[in-house]
Subunit: 345 residues, 2 copies
DNA sequence: GTGAAAGCGCTAACAT
DNA sequence: ATGTTAGCGCTTTCAC
């Protein structure tokens, strides 16, 4: 069917060994031979079969990433999450740059995403994995551990002893942004979070509480709503918050998409954002600078984080015994117009 | 290292043949044996090695998609293109659903993306490919053809005889939306396009011209600018257009991102969108409904198209001799507030 | 209903 | 500097 190393060897009157070594650039091949082989291979359209190579080398030169979509219904578009897009872009760019492949899977909420991991891990489909949006006692981590599958994480789980990760200091970040809102004169600062089993919910919520305390404000259950990290979820939660009396004078979203949804809710209720109410988010997605008014947020260098995660994973694959690199980054506060507040009573 | 079929066979006191057949559900295995094997495999954490399977079956159960980023610089975030995200989401969802894997690569502008195709094709890394944003005399298509690599396309190239594709009738669509703008009273309707070698530029530009003609307006080179499908490109082109005298009274973007950029340009110049100037786009990305004012556009069911493309590709893999399915869809005009125009002189 | 054996295409250890 | 050979883990004929 397609051209194999045997065909090339035959045409070159060489053994397949020599062809293999010539193409892989081994030193013990005559220069003239090497050049001849390379030219011939190119001309014949030969490239090593990836399956054969994987089998022989016991290595796939492929890393995997499973996009876990947290929510999908008729109103919210799938995967519209720009955070994930940018993350995937970083993974893809760095993978290409390092000459490895990226296997991507999308786990819809109804299927058991652990199954995808299981298939990839047990079938040695990939050399390693990138994991994000970790949960408490994350079953994926357990699976990877049990099967010795190398992985790096964005954010950390409970047990951080044995794997590399990059994490934003979201707790400090949320404390700072909460204090920023308080400094605008806001007294009733609401928070739209996410499912409590998500690690990021815990960190960010704690940061929010810490920020309130630092500002001398007391927390209230009335001011906390649960979203789902999507614009739609933020919109719904925003509506629930804004009809309460007394009304919140600020809304902090667990991420930018949530904040964008809340902005829309405020808009629909006729409130002037950056005047009647302050709104802020987290991530600094592309849209954040392009809304009217622009969204105050904490910047997370998602693209760079993704690239670095790939590098960390490759380091780990090269030397599995090394101490896991664990990096903590400070998010950067981006103050824009949405967090102004001109109506302090 | 990891558990193979041999290990399972040994534990079960069976030949590897029987284990293989039991797990693959062949009929000629005793029910009791099958159950025993399945239980044992699960308990031992066995799953067939994907590399070995690929090699033996001469099939990868993987399809590929290369994201060709058209532009990357400091101002524009990579991959922020929601069109691509949604497309990838559709591919990923359907692939998962069909139990195959999706290999993704990101081709940065500086590397030769044909190299990625070459590696995948010659190395039989994937069973088939999804291709989009075709160009005139597309070298990728030539490569795929030469090497008998099955593929399906979103949009078509010059030679449409031999491969399946799904295409939007963008020409009709752009004609309609241009006429819609004219019907608002706009007389100087500008168009922000893209590189002329992109197939989509040609179709959409022709549609724009046809729409002008149908509305009794004459085209002017003054009213046409070149962008790059990004928000940033739309912004720059928008600025160039809006400082001209006389000023355009409508801007039609080749896609929504371009239109969004143009909206920002109009905003920056103090123009009221949907009043001083009408703006429209194409795609109906998630953001289109969330801008202020909401963006008039032509809806393209990107997610569904992507899913269907995967199905078409799998059909093609199952029966390579079948006549290529070629589908043409009509985009749906979504009239929103951005295309109002209240200042006809 | 089960097993033996060939072979997918390649790489690497070992020989020459 | 080049060739011989074993074997990666699996599926699939073919034989029993």
């Amino acid at each position: 069917m397609s051209v194999t190393i045997r065909d090339v060897a035959k045409h070159a009157n060489l053994s397949i060994t020599t062809v293999s070594r010539a193409l892989d650039g081994y030193a013990d091949v005559a220069v003239s031979t090497r050049e001849r082989v390379i030219a011939l291979a190119k001309q014949m359209g030969y490239a090593p079969s990836s399956a054969a190579r994987q089998m022989r080398r016991q290595r796939t030169d492929t890393i995997g990433f499973v996009i876990s979509s947290l929510r999908r219904d008729d109103d919210s578009r799938p995967f519209a999450d720009p955070f994930i897009s940018e993350f995937v872009a970083g993974l893809g760019d760095e993978a290409t740059h390092q000459n490895i492949d990226l296997l991507v899977s999308v786990a819809s909420p109804n299927e058991n995403e652990t199954n995808i991991y299981r298939r990839w891990v047990l079938g040695r489909r990939v050399d390693g994995l990138i994991v994000n949006r970790l949960r408490e006692r994350d079953p994926r981590i357990a699976l990877l551990r049990e099967n010795n599958m190398p992985f790096v994480a964005s954010g950390r789980s409970d047990d951080i002893t044995s794997y590399p990760f990059i994490e934003m200091d979201t707790q400090t970040g949320f404390s700072l942004i909460t204090q920023h809102l308080a400094a605008q004169g806001c007294k009733r600062i609401a928070f739209i979070g996410a499912r409590p089993d998500l690690r990021l919910q815990q960190d960010r919520y704690l940061g929010y509480l810490a920020g309130l305390q630092a500002a001398g404000l007391s927390p209230s259950p009335e001011l906390v709503e649960v979203g789902d990290l999507t614009r739609q979820g933020g919109y719904q939660a925003g509506l629930r918050l804004l009809v309460k009396t007394p009304r919140p004078d600020a809304i902090l979203g667990i991420n930018d998409m949530t904040a964008l949804g809340a902005m829309r809710a405020a808009n629909d209720l006729g409130l002037q954002i950056g005047q009647d109410i302050a709104i802020a988010g987290f991530d600094d997605i592309d849209d954040a600078q392009h809304t009217q008014p622009a969204l105050t947020t904490l910047r997370q260098p998602v693209y760079d984080i993704a690239r670095q995660l790939v590098q960390m994973l490759l380091d780990l694959l090269r030397d599995p015994t090394q101490a896991p690199k664990q990096i903590m980054l400070q998010p950067e506060l981006k103050v824009r117009a949405s967090s102004k507040f001109l109506n302090p009573k």
